[in-house]
């Protein structure tokens, strides 16, 4: 038992270290690509300039404006030299990397957090919660639904239900947010059953229980659109998957032995096929972050996706950069979590 535990912790430890390296490299590449036009440099310089001007204008009030401006420009030049702007970009890129890893993104141009702060990391962190709430629950719900509906449908190969499920799979070629637009049109604008946007109604209910229900009500729209978009292909995929696995000889043996059907499914079909299912889940979740951004925009969900949209409209570059970095963190965390689940599920890893 302890040998297995040691095996697991060694594996997890290795994976965490590996993912950390990957994360650092990924963020570094983001910084390099985005700064190709001097983008990040511009952000930093403008932030520095703003700070210097603010402090000089206030502190040296007794001097005439031209004098203050001259001082500010001198200080600015010194700062530019100090921050290393006269050296090639490669030096600065590591400073940016360190800041990004420490979640120090400076101050935003225009966007403020709900408490009025312009600290970018605060702004983004505020939005992290709603995003994780919505999309974790969405992904988990869809994953389990795909799995179990797929398992059930695989029992009826060749029958009508199977043909219906198969023919509905092309519905998944269309992303969830696209259906979302029409869900809003039908259910919010026309039938007035669902809210138009947001996570809470305005004003939000006082009682905690009512607040939770309110949030759940707002989550119905995204749930419906994502279910229409991602359930069909998942059901089709798992149905095919379980069809193939149910033809293994050990399954036949179990059935010949007289094991009841649902036990056969659980122990002999589902359990051994879990590793590739988990891998598939990982890829699905990673891929869903993209669709998540536009879904949040469509449904007005106050998460990071909508923050990106607001940052685009306000031309607020520090916030844009910060959200991309934090998405990279989210991806890394997702990979680690799923690797841990994989390890628990796949016995071969423990014995390595």
């Amino acid at each position: 038992m302890s040998r297995g535990l040691r095996g697991i912790s060694k594996f997890i430890g290795l994976r965490v270290v590996s993912v950390c390296f990957t994360l650092v490299a990924a963020i570094y590449i983001i910084i390099i690509i985005v700064n190709l036009g001097g983008f990040i440099d511009q952000i930093v310089i403008s932030q520095v300039r703003q700070q210097i001007y603010e402090s000089v204008m206030e502190a040296q009030k007794h001097l005439p404006i031209e004098e203050r401006r001259r001082i500010a420009e001198q200080l600015l030049e010194l700062e530019i030299k100090r921050l290393g702007f006269d050296k090639p970009f490669i030096y600065r890129s590591f400073i940016y990397l360190r800041n990004a890893l420490l979640w120090d993104f400076g101050r935003s141009f225009r966007i403020t957090s709900s408490s009025g702060s312009k600290t970018v990391s605060l702004i983004v962190l505020e939005r992290l919660g709603p995003t994780i709430l919505l999309f974790t629950s969405l992904n988990i719900a869809i994953f389990f639904s795909q799995l179990f509906v797929g398992l059930i449908v695989s029992r009826y190969y060749g029958k009508l239900i199977d043909k219906i499920v198969t023919s509905m799979s092309p519905l998944s070629s269309i992303p969830g947010w696209f259906y979302g637009i029409f869900i809003i049109l039908v259910f919010a604008a026309w039938l007035k059953l669902l809210p138009f946007s947001g996570m809470l109604s305005a004003p939000p209910p006082e009682d905690v229980l009512l607040k939770i229900l309110d949030i759940l009500w707002h989550m119905i729209g995204p749930f419906i659109s994502w279910f229409i978009a991602y359930l069909p292909i998942g059901v089709y995929y798992y149905r095919t998957f379980f069809l193939i696995f149910s033809r293994e000889d050990y399954v036949e043996m179990a059935q010949a032995k007289g094991v009841p059907q649902n036990l056969v499914e659980r122990r002999y079909i589902l359990r051994p096929s879990l590793p590739p299912i988990i891998t598939n889940l990982a890829l699905t979740i990673i891929g869903s972050w993209t669709g998540a951004i536009i879904t949040e925009t469509v449904f007005g969900w106050p998460g990071m996706g909508r923050l990106i949209h607001e940052a685009l409209q306000a031309m607020d570059s520090p916030v844009l950069l910060a959200t991309s970095t934090i998405y990279a963190y989210l991806l890394a965390v997702t990979v680690i979590v799923l690797d841990v689940v994989y390890v628990i599920v796949d016995p071969r890893v423990r014995l390595a």
């Binding site: 590996s18 993912v19 990957t22 994360l23 490299a25 990924a26 590449i29 983001i30 690509i33 985005v34 036009g37 983008f39 190969y157 198969t166 023919s167 799979s169 092309p170 519905l171 998944s172 070629s173 269309i174 992303p175 947010w177 696209f178 637009i181 029409f182 049109l185 604008a189 089709y236 095919t240 069809l243 193939i244 033809r247 890829l283 990673i286 891929g287 972050w289 993209t290 951004i293 536009i294 925009t297 990106i308 949209h309 685009l312 409209q313 844009l320 950069l321 959200t323 991309s324 998405y327 990279a328 989210l330 991806l331 890394a332 990979v335």
Partner: protein
């Protein structure tokens, strides 16, 4: 090249897969539309026309598709244009000379048989020749019941566009006149179009009981010009509420043209992106699996790093900073996709293929790596590769569309794409204004295109997937 039996087997499978057939039909239709669009108007023409506002002057704004009248008992009007420079019926032009004075009388008559008022009325007065001294213009409106109203009498020194529907003085005078005749006030804020086209009895006072006076309407323009060499012409545009197969947008552009011109863009972009990314990922996966060792390790780590980069936020930022055009966007997507997730799955397939006996035999007879990869491995990977490729096309089409909808795409200033039309619709508040056709019609095209590719991809997958052959 293929033995006849497998061809016959293929056709039998095709008949069984109705979804596949439907998908192919959809794709062929879209290809025909694209070819038509590409030949009817070359790329630069499309860019110029869609972005030039003046070209669309004669089109109505926010018009619904013409076929909507089939579902309505109260028929919406189409646009009526009468131009004195053309010889269309209903144009009457008389020119009288009195020494140095030229009196031109233009009467433009049209028949109005619709059940709803026009959206706008515009009268243009065009002078040809040098007009140095002012011309006096009198404009009169004659309703089918014979009632004549003088709109305006003005002195013009050049070409003049008279937006009849926006003339507030006219609105007030017409309304006062009618109120004094009928003896009662209006119960709503009446507009000029109603005052001109509705039956002038008590039904006009309630918005719900307004009836349209059908028959011949005329506009009488009398111009007195003090320079005989100057020629006067008039153009009357009675803007309708329906136009074309798909209606028009808020900028008066024919949406059908926009949607048709967006088809080749969508198809070309989606197909090229899917093809290039799939092929590159296959190649990288093959190299990684075949060469093994350090190369494999490096490529695998690179893939993991790129998979950790949030593709979409980065794409948004790059688009934001560089305003990517359709083709530069393709370049960026390909660049970011080189080390994508597909490399891992391609590599695992190639790894299993590597150990197959006939590969060993090929190595034994001294086949080069290149020959083995291209002649033996790649044909075995195609049944997995091709369905995935085809199913990924809608993903790229929607990717481009979503960038346009958010508003970061460079196509917003150049090519028409369906995503761009949707972006225009959103920024003009189309859904709130009830202009559903502006959103629904490009969305329909997006939907059908995706469905077509998905049907083909999934159908091919069912046909070709070796693991399914056992079932």
């Amino acid at each position: 090249m293929f033995p006849l039996s497998s061809l016959r087997r293929g056709l039998y499978n095709l008949k069984r897969e109705k979804g596949l057939l439907a998908g192919i039909i959809i794709l062929l239709t879209l290809t025909v539309i694209s070819l038509y669009a590409a030949f009817a108007a070359p790329y630069h023409e499309i860019v110029r026309k869609w972005n030039t506002v003046e070209l669309w002057e004669d089109y109505p704004r926010n018009a619904l598709p013409v076929w909507i009248n089939l579902f309505r008992d109260k028929k919406l009007p189409e646009t009526i244009i009468k131009d004195s420079r053309t010889g269309t019926p209903g144009v009457l032009k008389e020119v009288k000379r009195l020494n140095e004075i030229k009196i031109t009388r233009i009467v433009l008559t049209f028949n109005y048989e619709y059940d709803d008022i026009p959206s706008e009325i515009l009268l243009k007065i065009i002078f040809t020749g040098n007009l140095s001294r002012r011309a006096t213009v009198t404009i009169k409106w004659i309703s089918p019941d014979g009632d004549t109203v003088t709109f305006k009498q003005i002195a013009l020194s050049g070409n003049y566009s008279y937006f009849i529907s926006l003339d507030l003085d006219l609105l007030n005078s017409l309304r006062k006149r009618l109120v004094s005749v009928l003896g009662r006030e209006f119960t709503y804020d009446v507009d000029i179009n109603t005052l001109l086209f509705a039956v002038k009895d008590s039904t006009i006072l309630e918005k719900s009981t307004v009836r349209i006076s059908r028959g011949n309407y005329s506009i009488d323009i009398e111009t007195i010009v003090l320079e005989p060499h100057v020629n006067v012409d008039a153009k009357l545009i009675v803007y309708g509420k329906v136009y074309g197969m798909a209606g028009t947008d808020g900028y008066r552009r024919d949406l059908w043209i926009g949607v048709v011109w967006g088809t080749p863009a969508a198809l070309a972009f989606g197909l090229s992106a899917a093809l290039i990314v799939a092929l590159i990922q296959m190649f990288v996966g093959a190299v990684s699996a075949w060469l093994g060792g350090v190369t494999d390790f490096v490529i695998q780590r690179l893939t993991e790093i790129f998979m950790n980069i949030p593709f979409y936020p980065l794409l948004i930022m790059i688009s934001f900073v560089y305003k990517l055009d359709l083709w530069t966007l393709l370049l960026v997507i390909v660049g970011l996709g080189i080390f994508g997730a597909g490399v891992k799955s391609m590599r695992s397939i190639f790894l299993t293929l590597k150990e197959v006996p006939f590969i060993e035999a090929a190595k034994a007879y001294g086949a080069s790596s290149l020959r083995i990869i291209t002649l033996y491995m790649i044909p075995r990977i195609l049944p997995t590769l091709i369905p995935n490729l085809i199913t990924s096309v809608p993903y790229y089409v929607f990717l481009e569309a979503s960038l346009a909808i958010i508003g970061v795409s460079g196509t917003l200033r150049s090519v028409v794409t369906w995503g761009r039309i949707l972006n225009d619709a959103y920024s003009s508040g189309a859904l709130y204004l009830g202009l559903h056709h502006w959103v629904l019609i490009p969305s329909l095209f997006l939907f059908i295109t995706s469905l077509g590719f998905a049907l083909i991809g999934l159908g091919l997958d069912r046909m070709l997937n070796p693991r399914l052959k056992e079932i």
